[in-house]
């Protein structure tokens, strides 16, 4: 019961805040689908302020934080008249909320959860956080994981639980919901056709075994996927609609994405730089969008510097410095936007060159790593991915490279860059291995929804071109 109530409270916190703060970025229905994601970001910021400031992480402190944010959000609502649009769409918002409750009740009733030892370690960290027993050995865990999962599960201990059974399903719900909503509003044509195409796309993603598995597997892949999708689709729509507000909202979700895994900020930087290639927005707009993102994440990584071991297993001092450069780089780089360069092509060329260099310097390691990673998708991964990647490749071949989607480069280049960077990161660790739990394999969960979104939009345009003439 508390697990469901907690998710609903977080949803409320996120919905009220995001509809006020990000007004004009998307419709209130979008913010209903992403309410839980936004609320988690707000909750996370409060939690991390407490952790960094060494203030006790208690229910009272979090209630004070959340109440202050909600009051500010209400003030913003009245100042910007944001509540009027909520009233206009109240029926759709209520429907989303009812669906969320139904999913939470279903998963709680069936008691679906899967935990591995990665989950176990993160739950121990959550436990220490909630009991305010951060020792050196536990605080160092912040350098091993994205902090979002343990921080949000920590609240479970206040209610006598060890973890919230509802969190993974709530993230999966947000992912599928945002996916369906974004596909629907991005398609052209009659409402009937858009409904059918959206239904097909949602079925494709939502019935995938590995996606469903991660809806109950206590780990960070579902979280990362749930944040990256709204971030990238908003980034794309911001360009299509020439809407800076959508750009700010995209950065908000990229900010959430940054806390899901340690290396997430690198992938976030990819999409930002690729979007620069369109030269759609002025440097000033980009700087306004990137400034809060850069300041908050640099601050967080500087704190990480104080706790990571010099030669840590996942994060070391040097690696955190690289991450700081990755976070600050897009903001500083935005001053070079006046040059009107094709940043997207530059980035792809650099990534390809770096990948080739990594293969030449360490061929055995890189070839094994990359081969295993690809094999997990196309050969050994049948038991968990099914044939979804073959379907994506088949659709891509049928549709052929053709500029049918405005600003489609943001999506297409972003997807290519995502794969390249994932394989490139293999050079900095033990090689990727065969098996579902391999890091790269789980990271492809983040990009699959974006691949399907892109292909479905292309498919919609293809149908228009072939059958509506």
């Amino acid at each position: 019961m508390m697990a469901t109530l907690f998710v609903l409270l977080i949803w409320g916190l996120g919905f009220v805040t995001s509809t006020a703060l990000l007004k004009g970025a998307a419709s209130p229905v979008f913010f209903a689908w992403t309410g839980f994601l936004s609320g988690t970001v707000i909750w996370l910021i409060g939690s991390l302020i407490l952790v960094v400031a060494r203030i006790e992480y208690t229910p009272l402190h979090m209630v004070i934080w959340s109440s202050a944010v909600v009051l500010l959000a209400f003030a913003l609502h009245f100042k910007r008249n944001a509540w009027k649009s909520l009233i206009a769409e109240w029926n759709k918002i209520t429907l989303v909320l009812v669906l969320l409750v139904a999913v939470l009740v279903l998963f709680t009733t069936l008691s679906f959860a899967y935990g591995s030892f990665d989950s176990y370690e993160q739950m121990l960290l959550a436990q220490d956080l909630a009991r305010n027993q951060q020792t050196d050995s536990t605080i160092i865990q912040f350098s091993l994981w994205g902090v979002m999962l343990p921080v949000i599960h920590a609240a479970a201990f206040w209610f006598g639980d060890q973890f919230f059974l509802t969190l993974q399903p709530a993230f999966a719900f947000s992912l599928i919901g945002v996916f369906g909503y974004m596909v629907y509003i991005s398609l052209n044509g009659s409402a009937n056709r858009r409904r059918w195409l959206t239904g097909f796309a949602v079925l494709l993603l939502g019935s995938n075994y590995f996606i469903l598995f991660q809806a109950v597997y206590i780990h960070n892949s579902m979280l990362a996927a749930a944040y990256l999708l709204p971030a990238v689709t908003l980034l794309w729509r911001a360009h299509v609609e020439n809407n800076p507000n959508a750009l700010y909202a995209a950065l908000f979700f990229l900010f959430g994405f940054a806390f899901t895994r340690t290396e997430s900020v690198m992938f976030a930087a990819l999409f930002i730089i690729i979007a620069w290639g369109t030269n759609q927005f002025s440097p000033r707009v980009w700087q306004r969008a990137l400034l809060p993102y850069a300041i908050l994440l640099v601050a967080w990584h500087i704190w990480l510097l104080t706790i990571v071991p010099a030669e840590g297993d996942i994060l070391s001092t040097n690696r955190v410095l690289i991450l700081i450069a990755t976070v600050a780089g897009p903001f500083l780089g935005s001053f070079a936007l006046q040059l009107q360069l094709r940043f997207d092509k530059l980035l792809l060329s650099m990534l390809t060159a770096a990948f080739v260099a990594a293969v030449l310097f360490n061929p055995n390691h890189m070839l094994l790593s990359t081969f295993n990673s690809i094999s997990n998708l196309l050969r050994d991964g049948f038991a968990w991915w099914g044939i979804i990647w073959y379907f994506a490749l088949g659709l891509l071949i049928v549709l052929r490279p053709k500029r049918s989607v405005s600003f489609g480069r943001i999506l297409a280049y972003g997807i290519i860059a995502f794969f390249l960077l994932t394989w490139l990161l293999g050079s900095q660790r033990i090689p990727y291995r065969l098996g579902w739990a391999d890091s790269s394999n789980r990271m492809f969960t983040h990009i699959l929804p974006i691949v399907l979104f892109y292909l479905q939009i292309r498919f919609g345009r293809w149908i228009e071109g072939k059958f509506d003439r």
């Binding site: 069936l110 008691s111 679906f112 959860a113 899967y114 935990g115 591995s116 030892f117 989950s119 176990y120 370690e121 739950m123 121990l124 436990q127 220490d128 020792t135 050995s137 536990t138 865990q141 091993l144 639980d161 060890q162 973890f163 059974l165 097909f200 079925l203 494709l204 019935s207 995938n208 075994y209 469903l212 598995f213 109950v216 297993d313 038991a383 968990w384 099914g386 044939i387 979804i388 379907f391 088949g394 659709l395 049928v398 033990i430 291995r433 065969l434 098996g435 579902w436 739990a437 391999d438 498919f459 149908i463 072939k466 059958f467």
Partner: protein
């Protein structure tokens, strides 16, 4: 209705789509790694079971772990304990025989996954689905072999 190339392509895509959905349905039904319904208390017990130990050895479904991930560290070579209660509860292994082992070769099973120290506890995870295992313990090692009657 005339069968044009776009229409044929649409039919082909429709068939491929149906095939993907059918595969997804089959995987959900038959996949040995099917979504598991674990009682919520699992992790509570898991944590509780490890409180009094400095090094815990657990067993679990082999399907989810790959034998290639071997992360043996110097920490491995310290006192190991097998938590029999946890082994029985989480592995489905029916017979857990923990006996002191003297003499012979000392080894960590090559498919063991060794985790970094968490909250003062070392964790070794040994993937297995074999319900009949013999766990042999010495001061600094654990040997798992198939139990033969």
């Amino acid at each position: 209705m005339k069968l044009t190339i776009p229409r044929l392509m649409l039919i082909a895509l429709g068939l491929l789509f149906t095939l993907v959905l059918a595969t997804n349905a089959i995987l959900l039904y038959y996949n040995p790694n099917s979504i598991q319904a674990l009682p919520e208390s699992s992790l509570i017990d898991l944590a509780a079971a490890s409180e009094s130990l400095s090094h815990v050895v657990f067993f679990g479904a082999a399907d989810f772990y790959n034998a290639e991930e071997i992360r043996l560290s110097p920490e491995v070579m310290q006192t190991l304990h097998v938590d029999e209660q946890a082994v029985r509860r989480y592995s489905g292994i029916e017979e857990v025989i923990v006996v002191p082992y003297a003499g012979g070769r000392i080894e960590i099973p090559p498919h063991a996954r060794v985790y970094p120290r968490v909250a003062g506890i070392d964790i070794t995870f040994i993937p297995t689905t074999n319900p009949h295992l013999q766990v042999l313990i010495q001061d600094d090692s654990v040997i798992v072999t198939e139990y033969v009657e």
